[in-house]
């Protein structure tokens, strides 16, 4: 092991002098008089090594000993990750002692004593490669695959495989034979460096099917796909976190990995408290059963904040390789970028725009490229869908993190201050936002098959009305209510119907918060039939009054369980209200 001596300290940047070899991103431990502090190599300049410390350096002195561990920052992968609450370095927060985080306290990510019911999936003599499934255990409700070591090269033969039975993660469950008669014992746990994408699949595909979120303005207007990428930029208070929490609760995923990256602790506590109670509408299981939380809140060490998103992504890739649909969420990726900026400034590197490091766009795009839908070696699909939030300084989208993310992510859910101010939640701007996946032929095809033949036309029509409604609003602002023709008022209010009934959705209402695709289709058809209809109005004042009631009834429908008596009741009222003014062409 290479050893070194501390030569300089600036906050959490420590400079270490070494004589022996050290590699970039290698982990080392700094011997502080009170605790061992973990750090990561971030720059090497001759025999001076710059490391970022994952803890407070208070009290550290020149001359302290440093030991390099020979590995990069790694996570432990094995059964028992689900339902865990980890910090950014995968320490189990629940097994830490005391109320306050003590520096230098590192806890095991996995329970080493728990026994799992192992079922073999291969037999003696079978050939396997890195990542192939050797067996499975049931973790919560998920078939957790035990995979051949991800570091294997070429093809290996199964020398022995454990029979069905109870094993701990440290027990040997298989022995593999390599080309030159090398023997490799295998357990249920393996390690992987977080900054290296976990591959071991046959190929990456273009996303081709929607990942349902239950949020109308996303699924209907700008759907995200399984294995897709998206980002949510928005000024503070516009609803990034509420939206991400809604997605994490409702999305049609097998596994959800939530990275709370440099944001409020209370928001994570909300997940800690609610997820063990709330049910996954699709499986009836508690939400926590499919969820892992990586919490590095804003008051936790900055360097570990950077690590937290990688830790989360690696865990996501691990479950993807089991053939599962994984959704990873990070709130907020700007805090991660800021952590990079803090270090880069301390190292006095040449700064790029807004003092962020020059290579920020490359770092962001590399990270987003780890998402995707893949075909595994056995022909099964697995996917990581990634959605990050961005917190632009001053709410101005022309800043480095937003711009770099825009190049990397394919869905853009821009939150608008104006919509948020007028409580039009979720405040996703319907005109500026986009999903590039709508341009994918394969996505168009699956959407049509899944929903209906004319679905895409309906959505485009709705989008067009929203745009025209906005134009009319601007005209009215300039010309006044009297200054535009009556039809313009009707058009404006038709676009308001779409806004209030389709775009807006109450994240805190038991019923409205989650709208399955089938219901989205029903409501969009309903709304569009109103938009397409002609109405007879005498003066513009009537228009607003009339449509307010239309909106009111449609909203009551949104609040009522789908196709319930209540729902149908409001629908009836709506029909009769429509008859009052609707022009019927015989």
């Amino acid at each position: 092991m290479t050893k070194g001596i501390v030569k300089g300290i600036i906050a959490n940047l420590v400079i270490v002098e070494v004589d022996d070899p050290v590699s970039q991103n290698e982990i080392c431990m700094i011997r502080h008089s009170e605790a061992e502090l973990m750090a990561e190599v971030i720059k090497i300049g001759g025999n001076l090594i710059y490391v970022q410390v994952f803890e407070s350096t208070r009290g550290l002195k020149i001359g302290a000993e440093v030991e390099f561990l020979g590995n990069m920052l790694e996570v432990s992968l094995g059964p028992g990750i689900l339902s865990r609450n980890y910090d950014g370095l995968q320490n189990n927060l629940d097994t830490m002692k005391g109320v306050f985080l003590k520096r230098g306290e590192y806890t095991d990510a996995l329970d080493r004593s728990k026994e799992w019911e192992f079922v073999p999936l291969v037999k003696k003599g079978d050939e396997v490669q890195a990542g192939d499934w050797l067996g499975e255990v049931t973790e919560n409700r998920i078939k957790h695959k035990i995979m051949a070591p991800f570091t294997l090269e070429g093809s290996w033969k199964i020398e022995s495989i454990a029979g069905k039975g109870l094993y701990t993660i440290n027990d040997e469950i298989a022995v593999l034979n390599g080309k030159d008669d090398s023997r490799l014992p295998v357990t249920m746990v393996q390690k992987w460096p977080v900054k290296k994408p976990l591959k071991c699949f046959r190929n990456k595909l273009r996303p081709f099917r929607i990942l349902e979120t239950g949020i109308r303005t996303i699924d209907t207007l700008n759907p995200i796909t399984e294995g897709g990428t998206g980002f949510i930029p928005g000024p503070f208070g516009c609803g990034k976190t509420v939206l991400q929490h809604a997605i994490s609760r409702q999305a049609e995923a097998d596994i959800v990995i939530v990275a709370a990256c440099g944001e409020r602790a209370n928001e994570v506590v909300e997940i800690f408290k609610e997820f063990p109670e709330l049910e996954d509408a699709r499986t009836g299981a508690k939400l926590i059963e499919r969820t892992t939380i990586i919490a590095n809140t804003s008051n936790m060490p900055v360097a570990a904040r950077e690590a937290s998103v990688y830790t989360a992504m690696t865990i996501a890739e691990y479950y993807r390789n089991m053939g599962l649909k994984v959704l990873m969420l990070a709130d907020s990726t700007s805090r991660w970028a800021q952590a990079l900026r803090e270090m880069s400034n301390r190292m006095e590197e040449l700064p790029g725009p807004d003092a962020y490091p020059m290579d920020l766009p490359a770092i962001i795009s590399n990270f987003y490229s780890r998402a995707g839908i893949v075909k595994l070696n056995n022909g099964e699909y697995g996917s990581v869908t990634f959605i990050g939030t961005v917190s632009p300084a001053g709410g101005n989208l022309k800043e480095p993190v937003t711009e770099a993310t825009k190049k990397a992510a394919r869905c853009f859910y821009g939150l608008s201050q104006e919509r948020s101010d007028s409580k039009r939640y979720p405040a996703i701007d319907p005109i500026d936002s986009y999903s590039k996946y709508l341009e994918y032929e394969e996505v168009q095809k699956t959407l049509t098959e899944l929903i209906s033949e004319n679905w895409l036309d309906m959505v485009e029509y709705a989008r067009d009305i929203i745009k025209r409604g906005k134009e009319v609003k601007e005209q009215i602002n300039i010309l006044g209510d009297d200054g535009v023709p009556l039809e313009h008022h009707t058009l404006l209010w038709k676009s308001e119907v779409i806004d209030f009934v389709i775009l807006q959705q109450d994240a805190f209402d038991e019923v409205d918060r989650m709208c399955p695709l089938e219901r989205q289709k029903y409501m969009l058809s309903k709304v569009l039939s109103i938009v397409r209809a002609d109405f007879t109005f005498q003066k513009f004042e009537e228009v607003a009054l009339y449509f307010r009631e239309v909106i009111n009834l449609l909203k009551q429908m949104n609040y009522a369980p789908f196709q319930s008596e209540q729902f149908k009741g409001y629908e009836k009222q709506l029909e009769s209200h429509l008859k009052e003014k609707e022009v019927v062409y015989e």
Binding site: K7, G8, I9, I62, M96, F100, V269, N345
Partner: protein, 442 residues
């Protein structure tokens, strides 16, 4: 500060900037305190044996042969029963003429709470101000600033709010407080007979700005002691965090760090978060609630200080003078309490969320009507009614001089809605309308 015996004394300072100085010394710990020419300083950088110190009181007049002595520990405070009711300076030394503190010496700026050991904030804090209780309900364990231009009476409102809450301890952290405001707080707390629940750390405009940097840690370490060990409900008042951030930028600029937006240090977000995240609800009842002030210039919330603050705190209370009624109000558009969801309609009446939202929406309609009016367009009958509603709403609910119970705020909301609008214009859930809509006598 107490000087310990047998400390090595250095007398050769190599470099002096406005806020820092450097010298060669050995065996120094990071963030350790030192005395430089009689002034308190803290280690901010170590390169080999070259130590850079941040001198809290500024470096004016420090000679290159000034005496430097290292204290061997980071900043500390003596906490014990005799701290209650006291007014202290940034270093925790009395400024009220009382005796020195004798409590146990504790390190300030300690570690953060393990998030899994937190409880979800859940206890409503009633202030009597409808702009807060009705529209932006506060909860224990929350952190929230007032955003206000310097000419707004935020200190008065903070003192009022603090005294109306049932906090066991009120800890005032004054940073760049004018002497008049310091005396205002002192008198107000004394007159309210609440002195025994007050502890104040004060840096006034007469004190050096860099000293402000230790004030929040002093206040919050004290708060942690009472909330965590004594299980008390603690309210911390931080005023003015903009002046705190200014002090941060002074130091980082002196250390040649590359400034980011608005010449603030790139670490501003982390620096502020470390303070605000001390707000916490413990499972056993103890809590730290932080109410802060961030002064704005010309109402600009995109400036780096309010902007970063907004990303950290659980909402903001935006103060503004309403020209129609000539009173200060809590602006319903730009204010937000992110934790209100946890209590409204649960610890308050079921109609709270809907009344709150609907009234704000109608107020927004009035704002649109006003724009129309200003542009010289005719108003519709609805516009006229919205304007009248807004005026009553401002006077009876938004003004900060309101002091009523939450049920009364809700009743007022219904009364004003019914006065100007019909049931289907307000769009509130039918069962609530049936229950609470007052039948107006025409």
């Amino acid at each position: 500060m107490n000087k310990k015996a047998f400390k090595k004394i250095y007398t050769k300072i190599n470099q002096i900037t406005k806020a820092t100085c450097s010298l060669k010394a050995d065996n120094v710990g990071y963030e350790e305190l030192a005395i430089v020419d009689g002034r308190l300083a803290q280690v901010v950088k170590i390169m080999g044996n070259e130590i850079t110190l941040q001198v809290f009181a500024g470096t004016e007049g420090i000679p290159t042969n000034g005496e430097v002595m290292f204290l061997g520990h980071p900043p500390t405070l003596r906490i014990g029963p005799d701290i209650e009711g006291r007014f202290l300076n940034a270093y925790g030394d009395p400024i009220d003429g009382g005796p020195e503190l004798t409590g146990e010496e504790v390190e300030i700026g300690g570690p953060s709470v393990n998030p899994v050991r937190r409880e979800q904030p859940s206890q409503l804090i009633a202030t009597g101000i409808a702009g807060i209780d009705l529209n932006n309900t506060l909860v224990t364990g929350q952190k929230i600033p007032f955003f206000a231009d310097p000419d707004q009476p935020f200190n008065q409102i903070m003192a009022l709010v603090a005294l109306r809450t049932d906090a066991d301890k009120i800890i005032l952290a004054g940073m760049g407080l004018s002497n008049d405001d310091y005396l205002f707080y002192k008198n107000t707390f004394e007159n309210a007979g609440s002195l025994d629940r007050i502890i104040a750390f004060i840096n006034t405009t007469e004190d050096p700005p860099v000293e402000r940097l230790i004030v929040p840690d002093m206040a919050l370490s004290t708060a942690e002691y009472y909330a965590s060990e004594k299980k008390q409900k603690v309210l911390v008042l931080l005023t003015d965090m903009t002046l705190y951030a200014d002090a941060l930028s002074i130091v980082s600029n002196r250390m040649d760090q590359i400034p980011s937006k608005d010449s603030m240090p790139g670490s501003l977000y982390s620096d502020l978060a470390k303070i605000y995240e001390k707000a916490v609800q413990f499972p056993d009842g103890g809590s730290i609630t932080i109410i802060a002030v961030t002064t704005l210039s010309g109402g600009d919330i995109t400036h780096a200080i309010p902007d970063n603050t907004g990303y950290i705190t659980e909402g903001q209370l935006f103060l503004r003078r309403d020209t129609d009624i000539g009173k200060v109000i809590v602006d319903p558009f730009r204010s937000l309490s992110r934790l209100k969801q946890l209590v409204i309609g649960k610890q308050t009446r079921e109609d709270h969320p809907q009344v709150m939202n609907t009234a704000v929406r109608l107020y927004a309609d009035a704002a649109n009507a006003r724009t129309k009016q200003e542009n010289g367009f005719d108003l519709t009958n609805y516009d006229e009614r919205a304007l009248k509603f807004a005026r009553d709403y401002t006077e009876e609910l938004l003004a900060v001089d309101v002091n009523i119970k939450i049920d009364e705020m809700l009743d007022t909301g219904w009364r004003l809605m019914a006065k100007y609008f019909s049931k289907n214009e307000v769009g509130i859930r039918e069962d609530l309308v049936n229950k609470y809509w007052p039948e107006v006598k025409k």
